[in-house]
């Protein structure tokens, strides 16, 4: 006898509202159906009604964890159509911003993953260390997450020499902690029991389903936009693309933790090698006729912005394809055959961001308007 276990739209396992209908026989999962759309906000349509600068602020807010990536993808496309060349120093600062964001996002993910397997202590400790990065972002750019440092033509603020020592200090502390966490995750028996050989995504499945990001790098796919389609200063800052072979939840966690170490190295190199000069080229607001596709390696994978301009102040069409959208089809093969207990951790292992996925158009306010169902994490009395 199989019955359906609804996960969502509100559920303590989920950070954002989405709906999974999981058909189970006992504890074993036999089928998964995903229903998206709970956070439509009409962004693609909204972007075509706003000027580029205004649209930049909107694009940043597609996601609450990866605003820098969204800015960079949007800007990459706009600068290509408008023929704007970003100054060298700004490219390095953009790289630093993007890597700081990658670190904070991966630590956030690691905390959530720990929480999903019931290891609250580790969750708290990951997020404690994440504060080191958020403090840096606040010091450099005034805001912890939506820092808006990248703009069309360059960056808004320079990194001053007196800020560098604090950056290096926090990064050194963080590096030590993350190395320790990698040891813990790879050796703690209860973590291994819950994460090893769970939610396996084979390399073939990952490539066929056109999935992206650390999710596929954990399955052995050697692909990273920073190396293969470089932007900002990535062709000048050396880094390793982190690959794991097993494709299970443990591999996905390890890939992200190792990427944090790699990002720390990249920021150090960028701070060292940053050339002097202006940080912003002029953008007059008008963009000529043309089209471009901006791609970046966001925290979760390939983020793509396609912009079509018919000349003028506003874009004609903006198409956003976020990494979680690309990774959605992988959820079913990872879950089927497993048990209910694995659902939260397997879902968390693709590092889902449903705000990113659901941003497609709802134009009017009449019938069938999709409400934003506020993420209401049920408050459970602490046990």
């Amino acid at each position: 006898m199989s019955f359906v276990l609804p996960i969502g739209p509100q559920h303590p396992a989920l950070e954002e509202p989405e709906h999974f209908r999981i058909e189970v026989k006992g504890e074993e999962i036999v089928d998964v159906d995903i229903r998206l759309g709970y956070v439509h906000r009409g962004i693609e349509e909204a972007l075509s009604k706003r000027s580029y600068m205004h649209g930049l602020f909107l694009a940043q807010r597609v996601c609450g964890i990866c605003p820098v990536s969204h800015s960079l993808a949007f800007i990459r496309a706009v600068e290509e159509i408008a023929g704007i060349e970003c100054p060298d120093r700004a490219r390095y600062i953009r790289t630093i911003g993007a890597e700081l964001e990658r670190i904070h996002s991966h630590l956030l993910f690691a905390g959530i993953a720990a929480h999903e397997i019931g290891f609250t202590t580790l969750f708290m400790l990951f997020w404690r260390d994440r504060e080191l990065v958020l403090d840096l972002k606040e010091m450099l750019w005034g805001n912890r997450i939506h820092s808006s440092e990248t703009t069309i033509g360059g960056v808004r603020w320079d990194i001053k020499p007196n800020q560098v020592p604090k950056v290096l200090h926090n990064l050194a502390t963080l590096e030590k902690e993350v190395k320790h966490y990698i040891d813990v995750v790879g050796s703690d028996r209860t973590i291994l029991a819950r994460c090893a050989n769970i939610g396996i995504l084979t390399k073939q499945m990952a490539r066929e389903l056109c999935a992206v990001g650390p999710t596929v790098r954990a399955s052995g796919v050697n692909w990273d936009i920073r190396r293969d389609d470089p932007y900002a200063a990535y062709s000048e800052v050396p880094f390793k693309v982190i690959i794991e072979r097993d494709g299970d939840v443990l591999a996905k966690i390890l890939v992200r933790l190792r990427e944090v170490l790699e990002s720390i190295q990249m920021i150090r190199h960028a701070l060292d090698a940053m050339p002097g000069g202006p940080i912003r080229a002029e953008f007059k607001g008008q963009v000529q006729k043309g089209e471009a596709t901006g791609r970046v390696e966001a925290n979760r994978g390939e983020l793509l912005y396609y912009i079509l301009s018919k000349g003028g102040e506003k874009p004609e069409r903006v198409r956003i394809r976020t990494p979680t959208y690309a990774n959605m089809p992988t959820v079913k093969p990872m879950l089927v055959g497993g048990t209910i207990a694995e659902v939260p951790i397997v879902l968390a292992s693709i590092d889902p961001c449903f705000s990113c996925t659901d941003r497609i158009t709802v134009i009017d306010g009449n019938t069938g308007k999709s409400k934003i169902i506020a993420k209401s994490e049920l408050r459970r009395l602490h046990k």
Partner: protein, 313 residues
């Protein structure tokens, strides 16, 4: 008349509902504080559980329309009643518990299963898929730890040669704590404790991130308050039982000329056991139900049975 009054006093005040309830909630509060500091946070004040309980009592009492109302309402009361009764059977103040019967260890083991069963009943009667899954996990977990619990408790009884708790306390006062004579059993019962009070790695029936709140999902307001109070008393009772069986129970000591009454020594030891469970639960992740069962039925069962055999021969 006097007997009825003294029974009522014992049941409701000391060492019954009021005393055990207050201590249970206090232990839970201190556990939260210690957990918070282990996690590098500040955490709620140690009185938080009292405040939560009071708040819950003041909320609207809701029973889901599809639930079986009578069972749903009865479950928390059953749990509370059984937990308090166990406390009455424990020697807290002295070697003599408030209530005695001939084979009180067996009675206690049975009574301690009732809170578990009432949670399961609550889960099944709540007409929620999460409740059903939580209750079924609880059943499986019960099969894991309960046998170990029984075997180890009986090991202590065999060592002493009696099922009466007051005899076990007096035996230990003369011959030393049983933890030194039956260490494997003591280790096994502490692991079984972790399963019995639903703490990581065995908090599977209430895995918050998977099945909302398991069997207690549909409970709210005063009923949830009573369930939590019952949990607090159960925590106190089971830890207290282990103190009596293996760690000497309420024995008065004289240290440096200061006399420490038995009840204080009992409370300190019980609290130390609770802290041990807190420590364990903060340093591990949660296991899956099949992994937990395998763990109990292999390693822990081995420890318990080996010790039983040693003691019986």
């Amino acid at each position: 008349m006097i007997e009825i009054l003294s029974f009522l006093l014992a049941y409701f005040v000391f060492p019954g509902l009021l005393f055990a309830g207050a201590l249970g909630l206090l232990f839970m509060g201190i556990d939260r504080k210690v957990t918070a500091h282990m996690q590098h946070r500040i955490g709620p004040p140690i009185w938080q559980e009292f405040l939560d309980f009071g708040k819950l009592l003041g909320k609207e009492d809701i029973t889901p329309a599809a639930a079986q109302g009578a069972v749903f309402t009865l479950a928390p009361l059953l749990a509370l009643g059984a937990a308090v009764t166990v406390v009455l059977l424990l020697p807290i103040n002295s070697a003599q518990p408030a209530l005695t019967s001939v084979a009180d260890l067996i009675v206690i083991i049975y009574l301690l299963n009732i809170p578990a069963i009432s949670i399961m009943l609550g889960g099944y009667s709540s007409a929620s898929p999460f409740g059903a899954v939580g209750a079924s996990r609880y059943v499986v977990q019960l099969f894991s730890y309960e046998l170990i619990f029984i075997i180890t408790a009986l090991t202590a009884a065999f060592e002493v040669g009696s099922l009466s708790l007051s005899n076990i306390v007096t035996y230990q006062a003369q011959n030393g704590w049983l933890v030194f004579k039956a260490p494997l059993a003591a280790a096994a019962i502490l692991v079984a404790l972790q399963g019995k009070i639903l703490r990581a790695p065995f908090d599977i029936p209430e895995a918050e991130s998977e099945i909302v709140h398991g069997a207690l999902t549909e409970y709210s307001g005063p009923k949830l308050g009573l369930m939590r109070l019952a949990y607090g008393i159960e925590l106190f009772a089971v830890a207290g039982l282990i103190t009596v069986l293996f760690f000497g129970g309420p024995v008065a000591h004289t240290i440096a000329g200061v006399e420490i009454p038995g009840v204080v020594s009992f409370l300190i030891k019980t609290f130390a056991i609770v802290l041990l469970t807190t420590n364990i639960r903060n340093i591990v992740a949660r296991l899956r139900i099949d992994q937990a069962m395998k763990f109990f039925w292999t390693i822990i069962a081995l420890l318990a049975i080996v010790n039983l055999i040693i003691v019986v021969w």
